[in-house]
């Protein structure tokens, strides 16, 4: 029973972090139908920023989160201007973006290898374990979950409480109708892209803790995880992203507890089940076809 309790709490905490990872990708895919295969690599670069801060300035790794946001906004805007306008003119945006961002991913991996080498890097633990229901959880795990909650809330606020968010949802639902309604799609797309990149970079320091360290190729697995979460939870819905993350975290944690050899399989079996039974995701709305 103690193990079950631990797995549940751990699954929820990890799940919130996974939700954080999924937010940025959700925006990019939901708004622009861009398959950003470099999403995980952007997260990893956020982690490397934290590593640089802790090794050179000896400050708490979490300072990298606020620092990464303006850097990512600028970097994201540059990346957007170089890539996205051309992509959106292509006949098949999704396929073209998949190829293009695969290239971006490889570049980010190569740059990380040149800068940081191939070895795994870790961050100093944030503090003593936190006791929850009498059991110890890593301080970094609790901090990650605690930071993921406001991040997800911010995402919710942006989508449902701002004019830009309203326009974003309009584009997500139907781009042509949004244009006809006077929505400035390019502005929405730019915002969604840079905000998505900023969310990815901000999740980086937390990912370094959650994954036991990062190396230049860690991003590939993270991208797959993020796609899994947003598909489980449904596109464009922050609650769905949180729920997808928590479900993924619980599946992973409970499998670790009771069927460790299946840890790599169960979350993806869950994905298959969701896709087959509810293709629009747990929180997705039915698609209007006419």
């Amino acid at each position: 029973m103690r193990l079950f309790e631990y797995a549940l709490v751990s699954g929820v905490l990890y799940g919130l972090f996974y939700g954080f990872i999924g937010v940025g990708l959700n925006l990019l895919f939901g708004v622009m139908r861009l398959v950003n295969l470099a999403h995980g690599d952007l997260v990893v670069w956020g982690g490397y920023l934290a590593y640089s801060l802790t090794t050179s300035a000896h400050v708490n790794a979490l300072w990298a989160i606020p620092l990464s946001i303006p850097l990512a906004l600028v970097g994201g805007l540059i990346l957007y201007l170089i890539t996205v306008p051309r992509l959106r003119r292509s006949e098949d945006t999704e396929t073209s973006s998949l190829i293009l961002f695969f290239g971006v991913s490889q570049v980010l991996v190569a740059l990380a290898t040149m800068k940081y080498g191939t070895n795994q890097v870790t961050l100093p633990e944030l503090g003593n374990p936190v006791m929850i229901f009498g059991q110890p959880y890593a301080a970094s795990l609790v901090a990650s979950a605690a930071l993921a909650v406001p991040a997800l809330a911010l995402f919710y606020y942006y989508l449902y409480r701002t004019r830009l968010g309203l326009a974003t949802r309009a584009v997500m639902a139907n781009e042509e109708e949004a244009i006809a309604s006077g929505v400035r799609v390019r502005r929405v797309a730019t915002s969604a892209f840079v905000i998505g990149v900023a969310f990815a970079a901000a999740a980086g320091p937390l990912a370094t803790y959650m994954l036991g360290g990062i190396n230049p190729t860690t991003g590939g697995g993270l991208t797959i995880t993020a796609f899994t979460i947003i598909i489980i939870g449904s596109l464009g819905n922050p609650l769905g992203t949180a729920a997808g993350g928590i479900l993924y975290g619980l599946a992973s944690s409970l499998t670790q507890a009771y069927a460790a050899p299946w840890t790599g399989l169960v979350p993806y079996a869950l994905l298959l089940a969701v896709v087959l039974l509810r293709p629009s995701g747990l929180f997705g709305r039915r698609v209007r076809v006419a």
Binding site: Q106, T118, A138, L211
Partner: protein, 409 residues
Amino acid sequence: MASGLAAASLSASQSAGASGNVITVGTLYANTGSFATSSMPEYAGLQFWVKQVNAAGGMYVAPLKKKEHVQLVSYNDQSDPATATTLYNQLLTQNKVNVFVADFGSVLTAPAVTIAKDQKHLLFDITGSGTSFFSSGPNPYVALTSLPVSAVWPKPVVGLLSSLKIKRVAILYCQNDFDQAQAAAIKGFLASEHLQPVYFQGVPTTQSDYSTIVQAIKGANPQAVLEFGYPNNDIAFLNQLKSTNTHFNFVLTPFPGQLPTLFSQDVGAKALAWEYTYAVPPIMRVNKVNLGLGLNAFLQKFAPGKESTVNFLNVAGYNAGLAVQAAFAHATSMSQLGIRAGLTAVSGKLQTLEGTFALNKAGAQVGELLPVAQMVPHGAGFQFKIVYPATAAQKAMVNGTPKYPAPRA
């Protein structure tokens, strides 16, 4: 795979002396991906051997009765077994190398083993010690050069557990040949003493989250915890223990002994205190050799002034080169079986900085057995103490007694 091929690059070493009388040695390395940490130092060791041999005018090739220079032909497999499969084939069919040397570890060696058997081409397997490579009877085309076959590794660990009267053992392993073989071997050894592990689970080799697993192990109340993984697994597992202040009286992981600098940086000396690992060179120092450099000389020449940065994988890469050198020096012909006959001739007699090189009929290394070491706090860091030998001959190397139960750091 396409990406791997696109990025695969022929190393500069091929262009040097691409024509003329040279012995070509093909190999792969991984400069990205999860095995880069281990592959690159191993590759550096092999490159060092080539440099040393060529500086000495080449290596003696018995069938030609003269010395020949060595040319290394190498490609980057990016830690991807599928890419490695294509590139190993390329080494044999396009580059037509005389012999080939596998990349690091069982995962990247597995495709080479299959190709070596199919194409009857001699493979020097440096660290791919998966039992399955050597379990299908006599095999003249694969030779394990630097580590004993995985199933043999844990033998001294069992001896140590037994000497400490430990009966409740938890075993966590990654699902690959290397780790599964060790886990199965320990389980078998325990069974022979009518004991069952209190925890015995495999996890994917990509596992990075050990939070709940550690609690599950804790719940089994073991006296000893053995975690068999690759470096990234070991690091994540040990950091999980650290971040939750989880203490076990006996913890063993394979890689801190091979990559002590990396583990010091990523896990920290405090968290490594009193942990056990396999003692490999340079922890284990062999200076009495009949081929190549002894360990002390190797350290000085490989990294002058930075001897402490040299790790086992550097040694392993160099040692593979020595095995190639010995094979050609005693080869009966230039055919693959003729070169392999050279290895058979030196088996049990060749003394290198890794100890006695000895192969069984299946090509498994049975000579270079590894003692067990414990990491003992020393100032702000730690030092390795060999606490249990793998052979009677290694008893002289023992320089510490196991501290059990491990004190809390």
